[in-house]
Amino acid sequence: MNEHLYKLKAHEEAKRERNWNPIERWRVIQATIAWAESQGTVRRNTPAACKRKEAELLAALNRWREARCG
């Protein structure tokens, strides 16, 4: 049963790709990205998210520098 579903899903996805106008598909992808970015788990473009990311990158950079200096 599982193998049948695998094959069916793969077949269906390939068929969808062949029948989806590329311009329309790109429009949908962009709209989906915009929608996803508005959801609670995907808040990248906020000051808080930027500061969190900045702190992680600075911490990683400091660890790397300490490792280099021994």
Partner: protein, 164 residues
């Protein structure tokens, strides 16, 4: 918002469904982007009819093959009975309709265990539980399993004291 439109249309037509897959994971856990909305519907005649109506309103398209790709509004009633999985396109996005799921045997049990949530746009939906999402992943062959998703789900379930 396009995904909101899909869910809102399904809600308005009283389609009984559970949101699963990448979109469910994105909404509940982590921003791993996905481009299709996966919906597992209750596989009974009336619900399939409601689903067909919702998909027609969304101007969804599907075909058994490349030669008969068409708006679903033009398909005969109960076209959803033809197979277990359908991959459709619509102006609102790619939609996958599942009548059965690998790793999950009982739609009603999964629906009862599903989590009632809302998108940021305020659209309510029922999302597959973390427990069931993990069961779906375990049911896949290893090359197809999403290791990052499994790790996040296992950690979430460990925090709540649940185990698949």
């Amino acid at each position: 918002m396009n995904v909101d439109l899909i869910l809102e249309t399904f809600n308005r037509h009283r389609v009984k469904y559970v949101l699963l897959g990448g979109m469910n994971f994105l909404l509940r856990h982590a921003p791993i982007l996905t481009y299709d909305v996966d919906l597992w519907i209750e596989d009974v005649l009336e619900n399939r009819r409601r689903c067909e109506t919702a998909l027609a309103e969304l101007n969804a398209e599907w075909g058994a093959g490349d030669d008969d790709w068409t708006p679903v509004a033009q398909l005969p009633t109960d076209w959803l009975v033809r197979q277990a999985v359908f991959c459709l396109i619509s102006p609102a996005g790619a939609i996958d309709i599942f009548r059965s799921m690998m790793g999950l045997e009982d739609w009603q049990a999964s629906f009862n265990a599903s989590i009632e949530e809302s998108t940021s746009g305020g659209v309510p939906y029922r999302g597959l539980s973390d427990f069931d999402m993990l069961r779906c992943q375990y049911a896949l062959d290893p090359p197809f399993q999403k290791t990052q998703r499994i790790a996040v789900l296992e950690a979430a379930l460990k925090r709540t004291g649940n185990r698949p």
